[in-house]
Symmetry: C2
Subunit: 546 residues, 2 copies
Amino acid sequence: MKKTFTLGKLAATITLATAALSTGLGSMAVSAQPTLSEAEFDKATELYFQRCAGCHGVLRKGATGNNLEPKETLKKGQERLEKIIAWGTEGGMNNFDDIFNEEEISLLATFIQMEPPVPPEMSLQMMKDRTKQYVALEDYPTKPLHGRNWKNFFVVIERDAGQAAIIDGDKHEIVAHIDTGYAVHVIKGSENHKTDKNDDTVGRFWYTIGRDGKVNKIDLWQTPDKMLVAETQMAYDARDIAVSGDGKYVIAGGYWPPHFVIMDGKTLEPLKVVSSRGINVDGEYVNEARVAAIYTTPNEPTWIVAIKELGQMWQVDYSDIANLRIEQMDTAKFLHDGFFDPSGRYFQIAANASNKMVVVDTKERKLEKMIDVASLPHPGPGANWVDKECGPVGGTTHLGIGEVSVWGNDPIKHADQAWKLCYTVQTDGAGVFIRTHPDSQYVWADQLKHPEPEIQQSVQVFDKDTREIVKTIRVTEEEGKAALHMEFNQDGSEVWVSVWNRADASNPTGEIVVYDSETLEEITRIKGLTTPTGKFNVYNRMNHKT
Amino acid sequence: MKKTFTLGKLAATITLATAALSTGLGSMAVSAQPTLSEAEFDKATELYFQRCAGCHGVLRKGATGNNLEPKETLKKGQERLEKIIAWGTEGGMNNFDDIFNEEEISLLATFIQMEPPVPPEMSLQMMKDRTKQYVALEDYPTKPLHGRNWKNFFVVIERDAGQAAIIDGDKHEIVAHIDTGYAVHVIKGSENHKTDKNDDTVGRFWYTIGRDGKVNKIDLWQTPDKMLVAETQMAYDARDIAVSGDGKYVIAGGYWPPHFVIMDGKTLEPLKVVSSRGINVDGEYVNEARVAAIYTTPNEPTWIVAIKELGQMWQVDYSDIANLRIEQMDTAKFLHDGFFDPSGRYFQIAANASNKMVVVDTKERKLEKMIDVASLPHPGPGANWVDKECGPVGGTTHLGIGEVSVWGNDPIKHADQAWKLCYTVQTDGAGVFIRTHPDSQYVWADQLKHPEPEIQQSVQVFDKDTREIVKTIRVTEEEGKAALHMEFNQDGSEVWVSVWNRADASNPTGEIVVYDSETLEEITRIKGLTTPTGKFNVYNRMNHKT
């Protein structure tokens, strides 16, 4: 069963937003405007939603991308807009001529000169109606039903297939492809902070969040055909998910509607919805205030929820969801993704429109500090290690520049270095992901955002002690492919790098390349994957090794 | 300077909400619909905003009143709608034929069949631009500039004049009429929970909130001509205001935009805006989720904020407004107004669509209990006293029935009676306000909601021990006038009752009638007031006597 992405229900209830109508009069002054047929408008709505809304917003108010309301786009006109979509801009917009054909580019250029359709809300009841149990709770196995070492499984996003692959890390074998939501952004494992980290149930359940708001629960103890055990939908557009430290709840964040939803960790039954619409750090109301990222705090009974357009970090306490405690911290725009320091107390997150790393103190539940860094920080899973001079440090790649920023992150024992830039490493190209492991001498950075194929296909590795790049690894040389996202295996002996089959995204022609983490030599290639993206090693993610 | 209420800025920026347009097409199917000229539409918008929006909402989704969107109103049609507006309904809507003329009724009946205009947002910067100091902080007097006993002043809302009267309680003299916002709903005094209640600055400053969102600061130490010391505007439509326990901040709640604003208690400079839009207790998103009431918690550094349409009580901590802590408690719809128990720990508030009194434990910051009571509870300032059988009790009047509900409110020493209905008192008519005083044997209830003039003009007094009504006092016999709202003076020897000149609201023909609190005999009448409504005795309000 291959899932196709459809906006059917969405399109059916779409209504036109406020247009250039004169106030309350029966007569309506409609100027000569770009028009589309209903079918064209629906197609453009779907294309825009899939490829443009992430940066520009469904209401097109702009965030990471520019404002695309008619007041801005009509000034540019059809021809100029088509060129921008096809070729991108110096301001950071990608070229889309390898993703859209000419007709689609023309359609989108017209569409964005028209008033944006406002997607509908989604009530708690609608989410409940979409909740399914594929395996009844009483039928869950009491021990793994296969002989594999599931603690070294990798759960891998197959972005454009709407699937997650389960890969046996010991054997480098694909165990299953599991149907999930469309273009899964993140997958998080079940936790239990109160028990021994070696508690057998920790990391057993994994929760996927699709771009389409679908949440799927995966049971790694099951046989491959039954690993998908439950499903729901909590939004039309979503990005992140997390599990509570006691494993009791799952929380997922919506781009649209802008809200987060707390679900039962066992059944995915939605329990509570909280709006993220609010007033941003500049004092202005934002209707499309999206939940960019959600993380479980290791030491507190809370989640950290990043409200992108508000520039606010919310710390949400799950001890008593009927009397929900939230700290709303004013930080900086636009919050994107982040990671904890090794103590688990401090959360370091990119505010990419402000070129800052924001640090939250989850113990005091307040903003700790903001660190100025280079253009568009984006750490992905992030990296922490120990620098000889600065002590414990964290690092991030940047979407805007080929640089890794490294800052001190131990305010207790290295107060002088804490939350100050320690050093930077120049890489060949702007990247999206950085990664290391406590037992490794090296830090890995990808260069996915560089326009040149050779650089986009290479990752760079630098030494924690010398701070120098020791190797540039060309992960693939095939046309239309790019290298991204690194993940260590259970014992830290291997580094897995994804090869994205961007130009052939509907076929399983992507792969994961496995490297020896010491010699940096290739070990093997795991083939048969469709646009493999984020990879989550069960043991590493559950032990918060970065 | 007489203030007139204008929606000028509002109307100028009004845009039409989503209409019955087909999805994204150039052609628009507009059916034959009721129409108004632009001038008529603007007038109807203003009338609706002043008189209808309070119950039906500016977006007309309904709350206390019915949904008035075209999908509902078009079915009824012009003639039926005019009759409803003129005569009211059995369901609880007032008759408006004594407030609107025939032309206005016709206008409104047409207006509510058209799509509701959506009022604009209000940014923090807009509020800052509207902030004024009439008296510079350095010019504030260091001691009272008059010889009057200002602790027995009454600050009195003159509703339809857009003013507040300052009345000398010792001398029964009007000291000043101060220009405020339109139709002030509530006035709150400066507090300082950390100091002795007899600290001379406690109760010195009073903050008014107008229906039009205007906030005015009054200094009772000033000479009458300079008592108005600062002003701002924090919404287009607002209802309540409160001061922090340390006197540092003022908070006001908006009906539109739906938000609350934290201001500097000294200058009224707006500091922070928080949206109250959210998901209600039924799991549905509410755009117009209005802040109905805000109170300072006596024992915690917090405010209690009632989000009417969400059915949520928010406890907002002002210790660190940059990292704002809020507990969002699921309770019941639609929250209206309430009062503390004598300990100051429990807050008792009416959920009038659920016929419940909701009790919040402000120490634990959670819902304590919900008490089922009769139709549409409305306590106004509320009343606490000691019942011989049930121990400490609280009581409320009801908008929907001539009854006072009385419940136990001491869960520590009278756990068996706590949060259970103790007894009810039948009155002649449904009322809005209840009031008593610790030194008084009696509880007073008005009957403002009863349609018969004789009952509307009478208040009833019952004995705390016998639970029986001991006197029905006809406060006025003049046509077009009604009796409402009671307040005790500083030493508890007098009870002041307002006489509303409803039919002659643009002239100062209202009055306050002063009664002896023991003999229940009339002492005097204070004349020259325009629609006197809520009255706030400085000493009583600062000492939380109810």
